[in-house]
């Protein structure tokens, strides 16, 4: 197949060696790239029970067949590993341009394994790989690291780096690229820290050979003009994700004070007009015509962001109706290498534990000055940061509050209140990496759109279909913000790889990829009992707005989950049944997972 480099770069950090391997093309044909191909390699290479923070865990940097081509919105890099936060399979994507540099350097995947004996930066320039001692960078924030490395080696290098949070093995440490872009969730930065890997710097000077360059260029231009730069996508440019604050507030699903409410009195201070008033510039990733990034300057910070998730979870959910404060929290997390979603989640949980008298963390909802001290304390595990660094699940085990511990499988909730979007509850519960909004995003159809949010009718099918769509789309490393159709993906992929592919085949691949993630988790002991939602969602009614009086009755949730398993061809215990595995070409892997 064209559009691939056909090469995997394997980097042994323990012995500081590297080697080139031939890409497994059979796997590429079944799992394509990004998320799916990363899952396939991880499943094959990790023994069950591998310690996420041990040398045997791997960090896979995965590009896709469109990476480095003119296909719109194809600039994302996927990072796959076993999560130290959840123990599940973890994939996490980051924008910017580093995916293109990896591909131009000649690689489809880079697999980092082992553990360096001392802090290092891995420097990749085309076929040259060097291990640079990084003792002088250890302890620095990601911004200083990027500036120092690009000053030394040139601005053409793109960098992935961690801050003190990753070094100190905070389980929700992220990886930063281009200062403000993050692979945020599940502790990908923690795995880097455990490997003594401070940064990866990449420069590539090659190209990508596609099957039919003229056709791919035509299709890419056509897509850009008629399917990307249109009234249905340009919200990403005009506003970007801060506009979602308005949607969530109107729909009553804006998480407020640790999910105690679905509307926030000060929402307008966090919404898109407030962000636009502070906006200095826009930014796009490689190959993107949309440019969703908002550079803003406020009295407290200059930052690219905050994105919706940060505004919701680290803003309204902490009772902080102050854009300057959220921007400063965001900038601090980016530099320290903390996921703003999980960081916001643990702060909100600590605030409610304090409010309820279960443990006094000395922080209350809306306390801006104390709130701004927390990221540094977490990243350095100092003061209350030592407790907050455990994450919401472990905090609840120690201090109580399991009823309102807003996490699933150990991953803190993103910014959508499921009591006003019942399909979102199912999406969170069945996402491979825990409470995650990237596996499926049904809020657009129900909470924001025209489908009834307060019923389970049709929701299992909706979530399943969206999960297949995202599983495949992210295996092509396409961005979430392009609402590309299956047919367009099939056309573009056919021109890139040189095969005649139909949408149905891609849909089957999406299902295969999603099921492979499930197999990984089943192999690690996960089952139906882990697909539950926090008690708050099924016990406490929301107090205001479009969701006033709403909760998810427990029998409705159970019925929705049961229907979902049946629709998927999974057992009552949430395991893919053998018939389904045969259908997806996963029977052998199912046996390896003990099925």
């Amino acid at each position: 197949m064209k559009s691939y480099q056909g090469v995997v770069l394997r980097i042994d950090l323990t012995n500081q060696t590297s080697r080139r391997e031939e890409l497994n093309r059979e796997w590429a044909r079944q799992f394509w790239g990004g998320k799916g191909l990363g899952y396939r390699y991880l499943f094959a290479e990790l023994a069950p029970g591998t310690d996420p923070l041990g040398p045997d865990n791997k960090l896979i940097l995965a590009t896709g067949p469109f990476t480095g081509t003119p296909v719109p919105c194809s600039g994302k890099l996927t990072i796959v590993t076993r999560s130290p936060a959840t123990g599940t399979v973890l994939d996490c994507s980051v924008g910017g341009a580093i995916a293109g540099e990896i591909k131009y350097a000649g690689y489809d995947l880079v697999i980092l394994e082992g553990r360096a004996p001392f802090p290092v930066v891995v420097r990749i320039e085309d076929d040259r790989v060097a291990f640079e001692p990084a003792g002088d960078l250890w302890g620095l924030g990601t911004h200083a690291v990027e500036h120092q490395l690009t000053d030394k080696w040139g601005a053409e290098y793109r960098i992935l780096s961690i801050g003190p949070a990753g070094e100190n093995l905070v389980p929700f440490a992220c990886i930063t690229s281009e200062l403000y872009r993050q692979a945020g969730r599940g502790g990908v930065g923690t795995v880097m820290g455990a490997k003594n890997l401070k940064a990866v710097a990449v420069r590539g000077t090659g190209g990508v050979r596609v099957a039919d360059a003229a056709r791919l260029m035509d299709l890419a231009l056509k897509a850009l003009r008629s399917d990307v730069l249109t009234d249905t996508n340009l919200w990403a440019y005009t506003d970007g994700t801060p506009m979602i604050v308005e949607l969530s507030q109107n729909a009553g699903i804006l998480p407020t004070r640790n999910f105690q409410d679905g509307t926030f009195a000060d929402f307008a201070k966090l919404s898109s007009p407030a962000v636009q008033a502070a906006r200095m510039a826009k930014k796009a990733c490689l190959s993107c015509g949309l440019g969703c990034g908002n550079y803003i300057r406020t009295g407290r910070a200059a930052v690219e962001g905050p994105e919706y998730e940060t505004l919701a979870v680290a803003g309204a959910n902490c009772g902080i109706g102050d854009l300057e404060a959220v921007a400063a929290f965001n900038a601090a997390c980016d530099d320290l290498g903390l996921d703003t979603i999980s960081a916001g989640g643990v702060v909100a949980f600590a605030m409610e534990l304090t409010e309820k008298g279960l443990h006094d963390f000395g922080i209350t909802f809306g306390d801006v000055e104390r709130y701004l001290e927390i990221p540094d304390l977490i990243a350095r595990r100092k003061g209350i940061g030592a407790e907050l660094a455990a994450g919401v699940k472990k905090m609840a085990e120690r201090f109580g509050g399991a009823e309102f511990a807003m996490q699933i499988k150990g991953l803190e909730f993103p910014g959508y209140e499921p009591r006003g979007s019942w399909a979102m509850a199912l999406a969170y519960a069945t996402a491979p990496r825990g409470a995650c909004h990237m596996s499926a995003w049904p809020v657009a159809e129900e909470a924001y759109g025209s489908r009834d949010p307060f019923t389970i009718e049709g929701k299992a099918e909706l979530v399943r279909n969206l999960q297949h769509y995202n599983a495949f789309k992210f295996s092509l490393s396409l961005c979430d913000f392009w609402a590309v159709s299956w047919e367009t993906m099939a056309e573009l992929l056919s021109a890139a790889v040189g095969e005649d592919l139909a949408a149905e085949e891609l849909q089957l691949a999406g299902e295969r990829i999603f099921n492979l993630a499930r197999l990984f988790n089943v192999r690690e002991g996960f089952s139906a009992r882990d697909d539950n939602v926090p008690p708050r969602l099924v016990k406490d009614a929301l107090p205001s707005g479009a969701t006033a009086g709403k909760l998810i009755p427990p029998d409705r949730y159970a019925a929705m989950l049961k229907e979902y398993y049946e629709l998927r061809g999974w057992t009552d215990d949430g395991r893919p049944a053998s018939v389904k595995l045969e259908e997806l070409g996963l029977a052998e892997l199912g046996r390896k997972a003990g099925l």
Binding site: T230, T232, W235, V443
Partner: protein
């Protein structure tokens, strides 16, 4: 009756020159859907209409003084 309307994001262009937020007079009995039609906004581009700060059904009959926000399709999250 008189309404305050705001068209969000790429829908702002349907407000014509000037601002995305404006005042409009419409006949009594106008519904949310009818308002969207009167403004020339293609219905398929609208994800949500909100009246007075809360998501609204499209067949809702508007009242004098209502504040109507019309929000475009979004993807991702």
């Amino acid at each position: 009756m008189r309404l305050t309307v705001k068209l969000w994001g790429p829908l702002a262009k349907y407000a014509g020159a000037g601002t995305a937020e404006f005042i409009v007079d419409v006949p009594a009995g106008t519904t949310v859907d009818a308002l969207i039609g009167l403004l020339g906004v293609p219905a398929e581009y609208v994800l949500m209409a909100a009246v007075n700060g809360t998501k609204s059904e499209r067949d809702r009959v508007l009242r004098d003084g209502d504040v109507v926000h019309v929000l475009p399709l979004v993807a991702g999250g």
